[in-house]
Amino acid sequence: MTATTSTAPDATSTGPRQYGTGASSFVSDTLLIFRRQLRLSLRNPAWVIIGLVQPILYLAFFGPLLAQIAKTGALGAHNQHDPWRFFVPGLLIQLGLFGAAFVGFTIIADWRAGVIERFRVTPVSRMALLAGRVLRDVLTLTVQATVLVVAGLAFGLRAPVVGVLIGMGLVAVVAVTLAAVSYAVGLTLKSEDALAPLLNMVMVPLMLLSGIMLPMTLGPSWLRDVAKATPFGYIINAMRDAFAGRYFTTVMAEGVAVSVGLAVVCLWLASRAFGRENA
């Protein structure tokens, strides 16, 4: 429908515009939502900054303790002289666990404002409403991760560029997983009061069992077994291998498989939540 026909008094003229649901409209819709969300983040960057404070504090106030422990060889022989190669990958995942995993709150706010419903009445691809947001969160976490790695360098981290890039790639995949799940749960619960305790209940054990602070190998066998049932330990170990320059290991293969598999499953679940009627 062009501007000239839109002013015609014929109310039944609905115009020849076709609303495709194909791949190209999905991509353009996703980019529209991504740019909107990014603009909102830039308008109020407080949360991006606050999200960074915690890992930097760990780096400053816990890292030096770890440096002493590393000398004993407890963090693995290859980390004896550089505890940061052990610690920074863990903090990168922690950044995701307490950043991307909490984006579900923003979808509840959007739902309350009526924005979700307003968009759902347009021909926009419903998957794009999810994908555009997730893309913004991947970018946010990548920027935060870059700052954290640079801070790590200042503390003494030394790692190969390729290894760091692989680690960042894994962080990006983890961001997809956590953001997608968080949106799906937020959109399903539609209540901040329900989402907050749920996230804390899930994220704290996941963090403790992923060996962010200390290697799980220090623990008794039952704890190691429980930890093996949670996903993030595999991903952190792969990142540690990457930071140590070891790219073709079983640990690396496991980490990549777990992170990608988890992202696929979570995206699928989230797309169901977004595609559901009355969401």
Binding site: S6, T12, G15, R36, R43, W111, T122, E277
Partner: protein, 357 residues
């Protein structure tokens, strides 16, 4: 050709305990260019019906075509051809992000309808002007007044010049001035764009002021429909109050035998009647009184309000849930209401079991 046509539209919500029939078989037909009001108390099924017609909710039964597209087979086609302005009060608000600029909201809305950027800019300019939003393009939505924000909600629903606009409670929460201002804008939608407007409201004066036709819904069913004037006349008649010079008892007998008089009571020398087509019946009444030498001192003819209509149809006032909230003293009891229904709409099971839900 109808622009909205629904047959047997129904929606049942199931929760763990029970199934709730929110809408139970709604038939409706809206012609292009009409302004149709969906009137009913909270929980009557207005919003559920609207959400079905706008593809937000799948009906559990029934069919509908909206703007030439089948609701069930081509929901994306329907979405492209309709505009929707959600309710601004309740669990969710009117649809604007508080931290977005007015300009940004208009732009993304147009782009989501796949309009080219230049056309979006042109539409945004025209709409901000038409809806008195010019100069506010650079403001954050949260800094707008209630009326401004509501006009922006409406502008967003119009970016793609839709054939049909659905407005859910367009003026709820606005002050009277902002409300009547918004009414002018809604009337303007048809005048300027030829749009069909389908709105829900629980304000009688809103339905009265805006709508060509009103559908009254209660307990998930349409219980009456017609032009506001027609509904008022058909269901309630006009209220005529006469003061006579003498012999009110005699006047009561004379007037009571006039055609079209339904209810008649005397209070001193004042005689109060409900009369079908009051303005047409009056001359005959005056002649009849004159023959007996009774002189009329004053006369008052009041049109019933849609509130009276609703009260007559359901035995409950629309304004509150309490049946005694009506201020003008006409409070037919349940029996009386049912009696009057006999020559209006056929009574449904719902109207006599008003307290069952």
């Amino acid at each position: 050709m109808a622009i909205i046509e629904a047959r047997g539209l129904a929606r049942t919500f199931k929760n763990r305990k029970a199934a709730v029939e929110a809408v139970r078989g709604v038939d409706l037909t809206v012609k292009p260019g009409e302004i149709v009001g969906f009137l009913g108390p909270n929980g009557a099924g207005k919003t559920t019906t609207l959400r079905m017609l706008t593809t937000l909710l799948r009906p559990t039964a029934g069919t509908a075509t909206v703007a030439g597209c089948d609701l069930l087979r081509d929901p994306v086609g329907v979405r492209g051809r309709i505009g929707y302005v959600p309710q601004a009060i309740g669990a969710t608000a009117g649809g604007t992000d508080p931290n977005c600029l007015v300009r940004e909201e208009l732009a993304i809305q147009g782009r989501l309808y796949r309009l080219p950027a230049a056309e979006v800019a042109e539409r945004a300019r025209a709409l901000t002007e038409q809806l008195d939003l010019a100069g506010l393009e650079g403001r954050l939505c949260k800094t707008l007044s209630g009326g401004q924000r509501r006009r922006l909600d409406i502008a967003l629903g119009l970016v793609h010049s839709p054939a049909v606009v659905f407005l859910d409670e367009p003026t709820t929460g606005l002050d009277p001035q902002a409300r009547s201002n918004l009414w002018d804008h809604i009337r303007g939608l048809r005048e300027r764009l030829g749009s069909t407007v389908f709105l829900t409201t629980h304000y009688l004066e809103e339905a009265d002021a805006l709508c060509d036709r009103v559908l009254v819904i209660d307990h998930g069913k349409i219980i009456a429909e017609g032009a506001p004037e027609e509904l008022k006349r058909r269901i309630s008649g006009d209220v005529v109050t006469l003061t006579v010079s003498r012999d009110p008892a005699r006047a009561l007998v004379i007037l009571g035998s006039e055609p079209g008089v339904r209810e008649i009571t005397a209070d001193g020398r004042a005689i109060r009647m409900t009369v079908e087509h009051g303005e047409e019946a009056l001359p005959g009444m005056l002649r009849a009184l004159d023959r007996d030498g009774i002189v009329m001192e004053s006369i008052q003819l009041a049109r019933p309000t849609l509130d009276d209509v609703f009260l007559t149809l359901t035995g409950r006032s629309l304004r509150d849930d309490s049946p005694s909230a009506n201020g003008n003293g006409r409070r037919p009891g349940p029996d009386e209401a049912a009696g009057e229904l006999a020559d209006g709409e056929p009574p449904t099971a719902d109207t006599t079991t008003g307290a069952s839900q």
